[in-house]
Structure formats: C-alpha cells, structure tokens
C-alpha cells in the first residue's frame, strides 16, 4: 500500500483561477506542508458542482512549492529594457522595494495624478477576466484610495474574451456572459463555445447532467473541440462564417416556418417587434409623449407602445403620422407616412439569407441549416410554462451559446444579435430552458441582475452608454485606449476600462492616433496575474512597448516575459498562502448558477515561502507609502475589498488613521459578512470561517432568469431593431469627425439597426493584404486556437504536473491539422513545421487529427514563453505572435478575434 500518512489536517480554501469559478476546495496538510488538493465535500449541497474543483486547482501544490518562484523582492540593475537585455535582477529588502515604489508614488501625487495628455500616471493591468481580485486582498482599496488609474493596457481582453457578447449581452438582457439554461434545455446550438474546456466544474457538471437526460447539443465550429466531442453532432463550419449560419436560421424561422409557430405573444409584448419604423430608420413616435408607436389591431390605429390592452401588429406596413427623432435630437415630422413594423423590417432584412445562401458561405449543407432551425422550433415548447419557486414562467428549452472568435471581433455583433433574436422568436430569452445571462459588470449593481433592470427610454432597460451627444461626448480620453471616447457601449463602470479596445493602448504607444492626446507611457505600471508579453496578440510588438515604460512593478510568481521588463518584483503570497474572504453564489460568469449565496474564505494552507507577503499587507504598505492610508482604510470600510464593513445594524469599520494587520482586516470583513448574511443577527469573525470554510444562505432560483424582473417592470427586450445603436453610432460619427478623427470610420459602419451580412473572411484577407502588402494566396490556412481545461486562465504553464496531465489530451504542444491537408504537403505526424503569418512565425510538431477542417490549423492555448521557467523549454507553438494588432481588424466595440491566415513549411522530420 501507500506510505503511511504522517499527521494530517485540512484547510478550506477556494479556487478562482479562472472565470468559471469560484469553487471550493480543501487542502490536506502533512506535517504542516500542503500535499493534496481535494473537493470540499461539506459544500456538496450548496455548490452547483458538488464542492468540486477542476484539474487546475490540483496544480496549486506545485504552484506553491515551485522551485522557480521568486521569493524575495528584486530590483532591476540594468536600466536598459528589452528582450535582449538581461534585467540583472538583484534581491533587495521589502523595505527598499517599498521605499523605491513609495518615492515614485509620492512624486506622482506631488506632480499630479494625470499627465499632460490627461492620462492617469499610474496604470495597472490584471489578467484572468477579473479573477485576480479574489487573490489581491485589499489592493482594490489601494487603487480606490489612489485615484485615477489607467487599466487600459490589456493582456488578452478583446481578443481572448467574449467581448462583443459582454457589451451587447448587457445591453439586451443584462448578460455580461450568456449561457444556456442547461439544466432545462433540450436543444443547445453551440457556435464554437467550448464549455467543457472553459465552463469550469459547474459548466461541466450542468452539461454532463443535461447529456444524461438526453439534451441535443449541436456543436458548430471548424474543429472538433472538447465540447464538440461531447456533443450530439458536429458541424464543421468555415471559420468566421457563423453569422451566415445564424442569419439563415433566422430566415427559416421568419420566412419558412408558419408564423403562428413562433412565440407571437413574446414578440408582441416582450420585444420591440411591433414598433413602427419611420422613413429615416428611427422609430415613429407619438408627437406628444415621444414614445414609439405600434399599430393596435384592436383599434386599427397607431398608439404608444405602452398603451394598455392593445394588440400590436407584428407584420405589415401601416400609414400613420408622427415624429421621428434622429441623432442629436434631430426631429422629422411625418404625416400619413408608410411605416413597417420592426418585425416586418426583420423579414425584409433576412429575405435573402436562405439556407442555400448560407450553405455556400459556411460550407455546410443547406439541409443541415434548415433541419437545425426546424429542430430549434420543435424543441421550443412554445406556449408551455413551468413554475419555479412559485412563479409561473415560460418554458422554452432551446438555447444558443457562442464561443470566442464567434462573439468577438468583426462579426461579433451579427452573431450576438442573431443569437438573441433567435431566442426572441421562440420566446426563449431569459426564461427557463432558454438563453440566459449570468452576471452584470457594466450595469449596476453588479451583484444583482434583477436590480440592474432599470427603466430606460422607449420601454427598454436603461443602459449607461458613454455619451455621444454634442456637449456630453468625452472628447478627451480618460484612458489610453479612449474607451469612453470611442465605445459608447463600454460604459464607465469599474470594469469598463477592461472592456474598451485594450490593444489600442499598446498601439498608441507606438504611433499615437490622430487628434487624440499625445501618447504617454504610465509613470508607474502595476502588473498582477497577467503576462501580456505572451498572452495578447502581436506579442513581440507589445513586449517592445512595455520595455519603454519607465517604472514597472510586477507582483511576481516566477520570472516571466512581462516582469522581465520590470523595475521591481514583489513576491506575493500565492493562492495557498494568502488570506481573503470573497463572495460566492448567485449567478456568475460562465455557468455558475447557485441556489445559495454567501462567502468563502481562502485560509492560508502554508506559511509564505521565502519573503513572500500577503497581498493585503503589501497593499497596506503601499497605501502608507503613497500617503493614502486614511483613504485606503476608508475604501476598505465601504467595501472596496469586496464586503462593506458597515451595514444596517452593524459597523465593523476600521479606524482610518493606522495600519491594520492582515488578520484584523479580514476578521472585520468576516464579521461584516456574517452580519450581512444574517441581517445583522450574527457577527462571527475569522475563526468561524476558518472552522467552516464558507457560509451561505438560499438564493432565489428565479433570479437566474431576467424575465420576471422584465415582466414586473413592464419592460421589453430591445430587439429586433437597434434604433438606439443606430442613433448613437451616427452621433459618435459626428463627434469624431468634428474632432477630425476618421480612422474609426470603419467601426462606425457597424452601428446598424439590423446587422447585415459582411464577408468576414474576405475582410480578414483584405486587412492582411493591405496592412502587410502580402499576397493572401501565400497564406492558405486559417489559424485558430482553442481553450484548454488544464491551462486556461491558470497562469500555470510553468507547472510540470499540469503539463504532464494535459499531454493526455491531443493537441497540446503542437499544431493540429487535417491528415488530408497534411498529405497534400507531404507532412506526417510529428513533422516539425514553421507556421508563418504576415506578422510573425512560430514552430512546432504536426499533430494529425481528423477533427479539423482541411483549411484550418489549430494551436491550443497560449505558449509564447521564452523566459518563464519550465514553460520556455516546452517549445510549444502559439498563435499570439502571429496575430496582428490591427485597426482594420478591430470592431466597433474595440475587440478583435483570434484568427489569422498562415502558411506552413517543413523544417524538420518527426521525432
């Protein structure tokens, strides 16, 4: 048997390394050393995946003990920066490191928090889709106390995320992330979504349960991903032609399937399908109230949309009078003018989008498209209801999910719109079984989707657009990527900077953009849990830019490609060493739908290795050094570290004028959490959470769906016609042109009321041909990427065990290609090939798989490491240095897509 165990104990913690978390875990200690990760079985009843964690969490033991860790503060001795410059890091004391940073920060406060261009002098970059906040303790309080911080230097945002979905999803149904209601769905159309790799334990569990009861998931994507493997059907579509497939689905529903088979009540009363459209493309409005008009079939007259007891017409063209309001409040009065309904406009718009049309574009049979549409309607159970927690709700068990590269970059708007429209046509938006949102990040309050349902104009939800009207538009950007200036939909919440065109911040450092302020580097750049030098696109160019930043502070785990450019490295406690309390439960990110809500503790399972320090301690020291300790404590008190310390009937606020220890801060936080969860009845502190690990209370499952909140508010989903986007697009164009900015004109064209078909493959090819003066025919393959359950978001490429187990899944470490395509080039399994795009090269071994289109290549994950210990020796190809940062490949939301054309040549035989 195994070696007898020495005395053991267990510590509760959580894993929030990826956006699919948080999940709860236990750490087994032997002789005080963390040796094993395991599920938290005590949470089996409250956690949607039974208290389990995925493979990434099991990397935490090696992550803690990795001999390559940086264990003392380090200072750079070589003032020259660059990949070719040895930084000459030397160990230094915490005192020296903090003094150095403090001097910089104090200097900035004396000079001014913003520079001459109006940009914040301090910048910060965090990776992992917001998950670093679950590990950075009170650092958010430091940032809040500091003042303006530029977070526009992205590390994957926009190109590696569901960018368009984030923005349009929040606009249409408060869905920063969109998900199937998997537990009740019968049919899921999954366009490139890779939930089995990126949906975390909750996503995996929900879909496994769904398969168990016979769900039909059709996976539509160019390669057979893990999710494709687990699906009932794989449709190998050409890359970036998804909008055509989806438009054809809409076509079948509105033109081929009997009208009465759609969810007509939903379309009439829960969407703007009946709104009438005036000649200039904006709604025809009631001259008195300004409300959009609909045609009431009961009275055969045009009435405001919210008139009680009406029977709005969905189809038809009607003659009526009213006013039309265009951009910048321009008004047109119309008399006896023919106006079609938005639904009729939709029908006209989609008339040519037949399955036969789509088939040619997508390389998918028309019969497959038509059958998919038919199944979608057949499974929608239109008219049926289900009662959840006492509330009767529509039951529509059909859902559509979109994956990366489908829901971001050009085409993202079309796909997000078509997906949401398809849901509306069968009444499957935000109802049980249908397509639902998980969380909000741009609207407020972030913790409650229902509460974010606030009445806005025209019977829709409000949306905190960045202003586009003449006197309100923010002509002078507040961030280096100008998110408030260029992207109205990005809003201006704490998350908005991450949802702007984050590559623009890097691009402008090289060239600047006409008629925007002069590009300036940040005086101080903080970096935590991110490595943009390998994780973004055109990584060589990004590395060059960051080498010019004057003072970079990296919270460093091991040496990596970004902190190679740093001036100071600070070793913080890693996941098993730091102390923190976070919120859990409700509905979150990818597919976390809980029936509980509460808090979980990350209790240190190990003493900090070397000189590593708890992040809360570091934040406190930085606040003190920067002279903002009072504001920092105040920020903690109002909840900047996650939980307000003062509420109704309780107050555990910390005094402002002194430093507080890590345990004092989190004990107070625990007490506040206990009070919050018990409505002030109880106030257990840190010891309670150390004993129990977590604490929850029930969460009403009906809140998984936005429909009840919309119904209660009498609001409609803002579909199909995007009058608001059309207006702000035109206004934005006016503002930009007034300022002389014309380089965003292509993006302005995306503000269409009904998204049209654009040949995205051609668009990509044209952009590459133009930007790089190449013959596109020399680059015959589309290069794609795919997430890996073992690696995604984990920051774990330097962990041996992760590499070892990931190797069991085909594709890691090489270039996946179709055997027929390989045979044409005389390539065989294991051949070492060089893959070249117009912007860069990478190399790796050929991995032959039948599950990929012959015109595509695939590289799993992102591995551009050249200095990260262990990872650099894996010689794994990565597409990141092959994908250009290009304005022509940036959509109006500021996102791109992981897609580029490449060529391939043999450089060595197989091993």
């Amino acid at each position: 048997m195994n070696k007898p165990l020495t005395p053991t104990s267990k510590v509760s913690s959580y894993c929030y390394q990826c956006v699919a978390g948080p999940d709860l875990l236990t750490v087994t200690l032997q002789d005080g050393v963390p040796t094993q990760i395991g599920p938290n079985c005590a949470a089996a009843e409250i956690h949607p995946a039974g208290g389990k964690v995925c493979v990434k969490a099991f990397g935490l033991i090696q992550k803690t003990h990795n001999p390559h860790r940086i264990l003392t503060p380090m200072k750079r001795t070589n003032p020259e920066k660059g990949r070719d410059q040895d930084p000459g890091f030397e160990p230094c004391s915490w005192e020296e490191a903090l003094d150095t940073i403090g001097a910089k920060l104090r200097g900035i406060r004396e000079t001014g928090l913003k520079d001459a261009s109006g940009f914040p002098r301090v910048a910060a970059s965090f990776g992992g889709g917001g998950t670093p906040t679950a590990y950075m303790g009170t650092f958010p309080a430091f940032l809040a106390a500091w003042g303006p911080v530029d977070m526009s230097f992205g590390s994957g945002q926009g190109v590696k995320c569901y960018h368009s979905e984030h923005l349009y999803g929040e606009l249409w149904h408060r869905a920063f992330i969109v998900s199937p209601d998997t537990p009740m769905a019968e049919l899921i159309l999954s366009f490139g979504a890779n939930v089995e790799a990126s949906g975390g334990v909750c996503g995996v569990k929900r879909h496994a349960d769904a398969r168990d009861r016979g769900v039909k998931r059709i996976q539509i994507e160019p390669h057979l991903s893990i999710t494709g493997a687990c699906s009932a059907q794989w449709v190998p579509i050409k890359p970036k032609t998804d909008p055509a497939f989806m438009f054809a689905l809409v076509h079948v529903l509105v033109h081929e399937i009997p009208h009465e088979n759609l969810d007509l009540p939903f379309l009439r009363h829960k969407t703007a399908s009946s709104y009438l459209i005036a000649p200039n493309g904006f709604y025809m409005r009631d001259p008195t109230t300004g409300k959009p008009l609909v045609w009431d079939k009961n009275t055969d007259s045009a009435v405001p949309h919210d008139t009680p007891e009406i029977n709005p017409a969905l189809r038809g063209v009607f003659t009526l009078s009213g006013v039309e309001v265009g951009p910048d409040d321009e008004k047109w009065a119309h008399t006896n003018t023919a106006c079609k309904t938005a639904y009729e406009a939709l029908r006209d718009h989609t008339l040519s989008f037949t399955p036969e049309w789509a088939a040619k574009i997508c390389d998918v049979g028309a019969a497959t498209v038509r059958l998919t549409a038919q199944q979608y309607v057949d499974h929608a159970h239109i008219g049926e209801t289900v009662t959840i927690n006492g509330r009767k709700l529509p039951f529509r068990p059909v859902a559509i999910s979109l994956g990366k590269t489908v829901n971001n970059g050009w085409g993202g708007y079309e796909c997000c719109w078509a997906r949401t429209m398809l849901a509306c046509l069968v009444g499957a938006l935000e109802v049980p079984g249908g397509t639902v949102g998980t969380t909000v990040r741009l609207n407020r309050p972030a913790g409650n989707r229902w509460a974010s349902v606030v009445r806005g104009p025209d019977g829709f939800m409000n949306y905190p657009m960045n202003p586009t009207k003449k006197d309100e538009w923010i002509s002078r950007p507040t961030s280096r990527h100008a998110h408030q200036t260029l992207v109205p939909l990005a809003a201006n919440s704490a998350w908005s900077q991450a949802l702007g065109p984050t590559h623009l911040a890097w691009m402008m450092q090289k060239e600047g953009f006409d008629h925007l302020p002069k590009p300036t580097p940040p005086d101080v750049w903080f970096v935590y849990r991110t490595n943009p030098a390998i994780s973004f696109w055109d990584t060589d160019a990004i590395s060059d830019v960051m080498a010019n930043f004057p003072f970079t502070v990296c919270f460093a785990y091991t040496m990596d490609e970004t902190n190679y450019m740093a001036d100071i490295l600070l070793p913080e406690c890693t996941d098993l060493e730091g102390l923190q309390l976070i919120r859990i439960g409700g509905s979150k990110y990818i597919e976390q739908f809980w029936e509980h809500t509460g808090f979980a503790l990350r209790d240190p399972a190990s003493a900090p290795q070397g000189e590593a320090r708890d992040f809360t301690w570091i934040a406190t020291q930085l606040a003190d050094q920067a002279g903002v300790l009072g504001k920092y404590n105040a920020a903690i008190n109002i909840g900047a570290a996650g939980i307000p310390l003062k509420g109704e009937g309780y107050d555990f606020s910390l005094p402002h004028d002194q430093q507080h220890s890590v345990e004092e801060i989190w004990d107070a936080t625990c007490r506040a959490a206990s009070a919050e969860i018990t409505d002030g009845e109880e106030s257990q502190g840190l010891e309670y959470y150390r004993e129990h690990g977590f604490r929850t209370k029930p969460f009403d499952k009906t809140q998984w769906y936005l429909y009840p909140a919309m119904e209660d508010s009498g609001l409609r989903f803002e579909l199909p016609y995007q009058e608001r986007l059309l207006r702000i697009g035109q206004e934005l164009g006016e503002r930009l042109h007034e300022q002389g900015i014309h380089w965003w004109d292509r993006q302005l064209q995306e503000y269409e009321a009904l998204p049209g078909w654009h040949d995205l493959q051609q668009q990509w090819e044209d952009a590459l041909s133009t930007d790089f003066d190449i013959k596109i025919g020399d680059y015959p393959f589309w290069l794609l990427t795919s997430r890996s359950m073992q690696y995604s978001w984990g920051g774990n490429a330097s962990l041996q065990m992760i590499h070892e187990v990931a190797k069991n899944i085909a594709g890691h470490g090489g270039i996946i290609m179709n055997p027929a395509a390989a045979a044409k080039l005389g390539l065989t399994e294991g051949d070492h090939v060089e893959v070249t795009s117009p912007v860069g090269k990478t190399s790796g071994a050929v991995i032959l798989r039948q599950g990929i289109r012959p015109d595509c290549l695939l590289m799993v994950g992102q591995f551009d490491h050249w200095i990260t210990p262990y990872a650099k020796d894996l010689k794994t190809p990565s597409m990141n240095r092959l994908t250009p940062m290009s304005l022509a490949l940036t959509d109006s939301t500021g996102s791109g897509a992981d897609l580029v054309k490449v060529s391939l040549k043999l450089i060595g035989g197989g091993a």
Binding site: H65, D212, A232, A806, G851
Partner: protein, 524 residues
C-alpha cells in the same frame, strides 16, 4: 461477498484529467507516472468524426493476469476484488507489467522530481516513498481510504472519505465507485440502467471498470471494436513497445533456451559415446548466465529469493525452482560422469525450457507472447539452438556428425512448423500491426525461405565428406543465430502491448452511438 468496481460513464466524461491529477495527489506518484488517466480517442474520417474520452487504469480484474504471474505473491487480490501490491515483497521483475493488458502497471527506478533532482519540492520530499522504488506500482482503488472508511462505518462510493480520490474528484460525475455484488448499490443500478462494456473483453480478465455508453439497453452486447491497422495520430492509445524487459530479459530466453537445449542434446549424445563434459558444463553456465542477466534486470535484486514464493501459479517461480534440481543433477552428472543423471538433468532442463515458454504465454499484456503456440516454438527453438551449439562444439572432433546432421535438419523443420503454426495463429487471432511488421521484416527469421539455408546445408553436409564438419557447423551457426535473433526480437522488438480499445463510441446526449475502435491492430 463484495466486489468494488468503478463505472465510467463515457457520455459524461470530458477528458479534463481532474481524476488524473487527483490520483497523483492522493498517491504521490512520481512525475510521468499516472495510475489513473483519461485517454483521448478520435474515430472516423473528416467530416464524420467522433471523439471520446476514456478513463483507464488498473481494472482490478476478476481473473487478474498480473496476479497469477507474480512470482513473489506481492500482488494479491483481496476478497473485495481489489488487487494490491506489497512493495516489500515485490522484486521488481516487471512480469506483472508485461502481463497486464491494460498498461496499468509501471516501475520507477529513481526518486524523480518534477523539476529535477536538485530541485525537489517540500511536498515531494515529504511524500517520497523509497519502498516504491524499483518495484511494480499501480492503482489500488485508494484502498487505505476504503479500509479506513469502512472501519469508520462509512460506505465506499457514497461517503467521500471512503471513496477513491479519482471518483471523488470527477467533476463530470462520470466515475462512480461501489460494490457490484450489492444489487442495490450505485454501480449495480448504473449497470442495470445502461449498456456497458469492459475493455478487452475477449481476454476474459473480468475487469472491474465498466464503461457505460448508452442508456438504451443493447444487452447482450457482443460487438467487438473495429480494428484500425494504421490509425492516424493514435500513438498514445495504440499498442506500444513494452519497455520493462530489455536485452537482459531476452538474454535469459536466449541463454536459458540454448543452454537447456545444449544440455538435453549433450545428454543424448553421451549415449553415443561422445564426451559431453564440456558441453554440459557450458550448458549450465549458459543457463546461469541467463538468470544472472535477469537478476541484473530486476528492480530489487537482493530480494531475489522471493521469486520462490508462488509456485502455485507463477511460471517464473517454477522456472526458478526447476533450475535448482537441474543445476544439481547437471553438476552431479558432470562430477559422477553419470549418463543416467545426465538424462535426469535433461528432463529438468526440458522443464526449465517449458517454463520459459509458459512464462511468455502467461504474459497476457503482450499479444505476441500470449499465443499458446509460443510454447512449442520456444521449446523447439531451445532444442535447435542447443543442438546447434553442440554441433559447433564437436564439429572439429571425430564424432557421429551424420546423426547430428539428421537431428538438426529435423529440429529446424520442426521449429519451422512451430513458427508457421505460431504465426498463423497470431495472424488469425490478430495482434498489433507493429508486431507483425517487426516479426515479418526480421532479416533472418524462422520462416521457410530463411530456414531453408541451414536445413539444406545440414542435408548437404551428410554427403559432403570431409567438408561435412564445416557445412554442418555453418548450418548450426545459422540455426543458432536465427533462433537467438528471433528471441531477441520477440522479447525486445516485437513485444507491443495490448494498447487501448473502445468497444462503443458513446451516445452523447441525443446523439447516436457508434462502433468503437481498436487502434493499431490487424489480422494477418
């Protein structure tokens, strides 16, 4: 009675490797060693392609091939069906490794570390277990957890603290652990409700991991997976060349076979008046040399006496045991110059040779070895090599070479027939494609075209007068080297293991199931 087993629902499994990692944590396995893992299987041709994930590891077989071959009784099957290894008894001969048709066993020779020897991490130092070095290791269903859990009144498979770590960790709920002898247990219910198969069911090992592939009842299910002779990019799941027995093991078969054959030939030749003292001595030395090579190969050489612990079922034990009377009678025959003792020694030598054939036959994990026809082939190869050696020994001396030539011709022909019988049976039964390629492409093998030369030479020698010793010696040399080459190839080059197979591609949700595959296999 209880029999612990795992059901793996292939509809649910997503290949995440969480079970793999959890197992590594729970059992502190060395880098590269995975007692549990999930393999990734692609089937079909674009665009009609399927991909499946299959958890594999020790199957805790009902009739475990590893159990019967183990010469030390280190491998045991408990009453509850769990197959265990006693690291303190195991000599690290790796016989169980080659006997296992599920590639579930491994052997680690050095205390390795994830980041290199000089960079052992805290948890590695704490959990390193010298007892596991140089011995066989494999999944034990986390037997400590089961026993501790049971003692605490817990139910394995229901209570996490009594359940294997891989099952506890499975995020897809694909793995379930329980007692299949208990009609109402979780696993029994799953087996009733789902169509299922076991891997390599044709081997009748009675595996304890059951793969669920459809909720529709397809029982009785006799579908065999489709053999794919040249699968594309399926190296990780196709048969792999065994790495446990190298040239040292093959030396035992080479020297042991030739040595015993030489002894037998000498014993009979002695009745013809030939002085066989030196050949007999050489025979004993050769057999001893072979065993010495094995001793060099086993992981725990100073525990070699443990090899005698399983005469009931292990042919390796029997080989070791029969060596003793063989050596004793052989030496006595030499010392006493006794023809009778020589014959007795020849009987033991034959027994030794027979054991070698049976050792291979019992290696269920190596299709090229487990054929019943391997036994006569090993016997005849040994006898042919032995006679060849004797001829080479005495060719230059005045002796009755005509009888030798006739005997050699006969043995070559019999060996050829045995080879043909073996090859035919192997081809009919199917084996790894790579095995066929290796055996058939051997430059000097046991087939008729290659063996015609020594046979004809031996016959011609009969009429060659003064050239007879030379021609016969050359024939013997060819017969000897082709036999040795064959055995070296058989042990170290053609010994591809069973690989993995999936009988059915599972129904994924509302999708359709399909016939599975056995990659890298063919009939020939």
């Amino acid at each position: 009675m209880t029999r612990w087993a795992i059901t793996a629902d292939l509809n649910r499994c997503v290949g995440c490797q969480t079970c793999t990692a959890a197992c590594k944590h729970a059992n502190a396995t060395a880098p590269g060693i995975q007692w549990r893992k999930v393999i990734d299987i692609e089937t079909g041709t674009f665009p009609d392609v399927r991909r499946s994930f299959m958890p594999v590891g020790c199957m805790h077989c009902d009739d475990a091939p590893c159990l019967s071959v183990c010469p030390t009784q280190a491998t045991q099957k408990r009453d509850d069906g769990i197959v265990t290894i006693d690291y303190d008894l195991c000599i690290g001969c790796a016989y169980c490794v080659v006997a296992c048709p599920y590639q579930a066993r491994s052997k680690v020779s050095t205390q390795s570390a994830a980041y290199g020897k000089g960079r052992r991490m805290r948890h590695e130092k704490l959990r390193e277990d010298p007892a596991r070095l140089n011995v066989a290791q494999k999944c034990n269903f986390c037997v400590d957890r089961i026993d501790t859990g049971l003692a605490a009144g817990l139910t394995p498979g229901v209570d996490a603290d009594a359940t294997p770590a891989c099952v506890n960790s499975c995020i897809a709920g694909a793995l379930t652990f329980g007692d299949i002898e208990e009609a109402n247990s979780n696993v029994s219910q799953l087996l009733k409700e789902n169509s299922h198969f076991v891997m390599h069911q044709d081997l009748n090992t009675g595996p304890g991991i059951f793969y669920l592939w459809d909720k529709v009842n397809h029982q009785p299910d006799i579908t065999e997976p489709e053999m794919i002779a040249e699968p594309i990019a399926a190296a990780a799941i196709s048969p792999q060349l065994q790495q446990s027995w190298d040239w040292r093991a093959s030396a035992n078969f080479i020297f042991g076979g030739a040595g015993t054959g030489l002894f037998i030939a000498s014993a009979f030749a002695a009745f013809g008046g030939l002085n066989v003292m030196l050949p007999m001595l050489l025979a004993l030395i050769l057999v001893g040399l072979g065993l010495f090579c094995v001793w060099l190969e086993i992981g725990r050489p100073w525990r070699f006496l443990n090899v005698y612990r399983n005469a009931q079922t292990s042919w390796m034990t029997r080989e070791a045991m029969i060596m003793m009377p063989f050596a004793a009678t052989g030496l006595l025959a030499l010392g006493l110059k006794s023809l009778v003792l020589g014959l007795v020694g020849a009987v033991f030598a034959f027994g030794f040779l027979y054991c070698q054939g049976q050792i291979l036959k019992a290696s269920k994990g190596i299709p090229a070895w487990r054929q019943p026809e391997i036994v006569p082939l090993i016997l005849l190869t040994g006898l042919t090599e032995g006679l060849s050696l004797l001829i080479l020994f005495i060719a230059a001396t005045p002796a009755n070479l005509q009888g030798m030539a006739l005997a050699l011709t006969l043995l070559i022909c019999l060996r050829l027939l045995a080879w043909r019988r073996y090859r035919k049976a192997l081809g009919a039964e199917a084996a790894p494609t790579a095995t066929f390629k290796t055996l058939d492409r051997l430059e000097f093998n046991l087939s008729a075209p290659h063996q015609a030369a020594p046979a004809l030479l031996a016959i011609i020698a009969l009429f060659a007068g003064p050239l007879m010793p030379f021609l016969l010696g050359f024939a013997a040399f060819l017969a000897l080297t082709s036999g040795w080459l064959f055995k070296y190839t058989l042990i170290t080059k053609a010994a591809f293991n069973q690989g993995y197979a999936i009988n059915h591609i599972p129904r994924r949700g509302a999708g359709e199931p399909a016939r599975g595959i056995k990659p890298g296999w063919m009939t020939s």
